[in-house]
């Protein structure tokens, strides 16, 4: 089974250190891991660092797979270039690093992903003409079609409607279990993290705050410390934990001088 371990990872843009000392225990396949943190915490940067798009200190260990490209990465920005049909845009993600000839199994793979995400009806549409949510689905398809062992998804539900958010996370949960993938999703919705994720990582200001089973990591204290929100976590009628937001904890830090805004 695939496993991913981060050791003392750091990353900087120019001279600006935005990530440092990010370490995790080995994260094994079969799990959906939520990556939580406020805006500008460094979630996207961490994904880019793991995927190898940014240089920096520390190491990323991947074991338990002999695939040459075990990681797929869905960026936060899905682009809006009006240049390819949906089918071609997904096929393109699959064909990177392969020969020019498209094989029957490549088509089969594209169709499988279109079906799994239920976007077959978009097949012949121009990828640039789609709605924001549809584009996000295409982005997910482009990551899935690469058949990765580790899947990094940067806010894959941010543009989706309520039912599609649930469908997407349910699907990821199922894929992680069935195919023993390690799927890490950056999320802003802590409720979804509680409901769908097996484990959670919290980062704030470029540092790892916590990493472990969701129930241990996502606590009222963590939400107060990191997100500055007073909240309770209670089991709902069906038993799964839920986040109930009460109020903003302290003086909103982003309105103070030197704050985020």
């Amino acid at each position: 089974m695939v496993s991913l371990q981060l050791q003392d990872l750091g990353a900087a843009y120019g001279g600006n250190q935005v990530l440092s000392g990010i370490s995790t225990p080995p994260l094994t396949g079969g799990q959906l891991v939520a990556l939580l943190g406020p805006n500008a915490a460094g979630k996207s940067t961490l994904f880019r660092r793991i995927f190898g798009l940014l240089p920096g200190s520390g190491t990323v260990h991947i074991d338990g797979t002999d695939s040459p490209n075990p990681i797929a990465y869905m960026p936060q920005d899905n682009g809006s270039r009006p240049v390819l049909s949906v089918y071609e845009a997904i096929l393109l993600a699959r064909m990177q690093g392969r020969r020019l000839k498209v094989l029957p199994e490549d088509h089969a793979e594209v169709e499988r992903v279109l079906d799994v995400l239920d976007i077959g009806h978009l097949r012949s549409r121009n990828a640039g003409d789609l709605s924001g949510g549809q584009r996000q689905m295409i982005g997910a398809a482009q990551a899935l079609v690469q058949n990765p062992r580790v899947l990094l998804m940067d806010e894959p539900t941010s543009a989706l409607d309520l039912s599609r958010q649930i469908d997407m996370l349910t699907l990821l949960q199922r894929l992680a279990k069935e195919q023993e993938l390690l799927i890490i999703v950056a999320l802003h919705d802590i409720g979804y993290a509680l409901r769908f994720a097996d484990a959670a990582m919290v980062i704030d200001k470029g540092r790892m705050i916590a990493c472990g089973p969701t129930a241990e990591v996502v606590t009222a204290e963590m939400v107060r410390e990191v997100f500055e929100v007073e909240a309770r976590i209670e089991p709902c009628s069906k038993g799964s934990p839920q986040l109930i937001v009460e109020r903003r904890a302290a003086q909103p830090s982003d309105l103070r001088p030197g704050g985020m805004l």
Binding site: N69, R81, E88, A93, L100, V102, H107, E111, R112, G120
Partner: protein, 356 residues
């Protein structure tokens, strides 16, 4: 979620959709190639002595069976010029297309990036003052000078692109700045040069195929023949670049090394072409846009399509340059601009699918 049968049906639908797309593009490529063959024959038939298309085809297929005069005119005088039109058209068009791709900018072309202007400056130095960077074979003094200046310009562009915070817009701006600088320098040269030299420089910058010879053709052709497979090898990655840097990177495209590799190849293509035939600015911009409109972004079709459309435009330009005033061959750079730009504007303003 769908049942097994549904999935089978859907997969079939997907393959059918894709197959139709591929067949349409293949047909367009065949049509372009046919038009090109026809245009080549017409180009060969035209000149001070006019021949029928039948005679041309006969002389092409069975050169030993036609009379000596026809054979010499066709094979030794007109053929290098006509083929040079194809090779240069294809080279400039492909160079422009890949510049647009790697810079993500519809304005990029050998002309707008200053490569043609650099070549012009190099040529002017040789023509006006006999400043020769590498003295050898007299016939090649001007092209070699032009080539070296063109490559120098490309390398300057590349050097700039490595700097932090430089966007593709900055690079195109730099290219346009270089065009102005080189043009000013050429004016300066003309100001000091002799009348004769000025005439030579002006004629050179108009772009002309009449200087074409078999050896020059072979040089340009071999560069093209080497460049095309090298570019084709990067087909999927180059197509992905059209989705934007972030998306391409996320698909595993290594942007930096790909940009360097492609820029080197296309600089060579463009520099060789302009140094042999002078400034033909318009092909590198229009050839790729026409090919994109016809074929879309998939480089497996766009690359050959761009080469064919560039070759076709220049071949038609070559025909027009002999037809407009009978008995006079108007420099092809002028003709392609006058005939081609209105056509280009028509296409841009009437296109149904957005390509940028």
């Amino acid at each position: 979620m769908s049942s097994k049968a549904d999935i089978g049906e859907q997969a079939q639908a997907g393959r059918d959709f894709y197959r139709a797309l591929v067949i349409r593009r293949q047909l367009i490529l065949v049509a372009l190639a046919t038009a090109l063959a026809f245009s080549l024959c017409v180009d060969l038939a035209l000149g001070p002595a006019r021949y029928g298309l039948g005679q041309v085809v006969e002389a092409l297929l069975w050169p030993s069976q036609v009379d000596e005069q026809l054979r010499v005119i066709l094979w030794e005088i007109r053929m290098p010029v006509a083929l040079m039109a194809l090779v240069v058209g294809a080279s400039l068009s492909v160079a422009g297309m890949q510049m647009q791709t790697i810079l993500n900018n519809p304005l990029a072309s050998p002309f707008t990036l200053g490569i043609s202007a650099g070549a012009g400056f190099g040529a002017a130095l040789a023509l006006a003052f006999g400043v020769v960077i590498f003295p050898f074979a007299v016939d090649y003094v001007v092209p070699v000078n032009a080539f070296l200046m063109a490559m120098l310009t490309s390398m300057a562009i590349y050097g700039l692109s490595l700097r932090r915070g430089v966007t593709s817009e900055t690079i195109v701006l730099l290219g346009i700045a270089l065009v102005f600088i080189f043009n000013a320098l050429m004016s300066l040269i003309q100001f000091f040069a002799s009348q004769q030299a000025v005439a030579a420089v002006v004629f050179w910058t108009m772009g002309s195929l009449t200087k074409a010879t078999w050896p020059k053709l072979w040089i340009s052709l071999s560069v093209l023949v080497i460049a095309l497979p090298l570019l084709a090898r990067r087909g999927w990655a180059l197509t992905a670049m059209r989705l934007g840097d972030a998306k391409a990177e996320s698909m595993g495209v290594r942007l930096r090394s790909l940009r360097l590799e492609v820029l080197l190849i296309v600089s060579l293509l463009a520099s060789i072409s302009v140094s042999f035939v002078g400034t033909i600015g318009f092909i590198g911009l229009v050839g790729p846009h026409i090919a994109r409109m016809l074929l879309g972004e998939d480089q497996r079709f766009l690359l050959p399509g761009t080469a064919l459309s560039g070759a076709l435009i220049l071949s038609i330009g070559s025909i027009c340059s002999k037809m407009i005033i009978p008995g006079t061959v108007i420099p092809i750079g002028i003709v392609t601009a006058i005939v081609g730009i209105p056509f280009f504007l028509y296409l841009i303003l009437n296109r149904r699918v957005a390509t940028w």
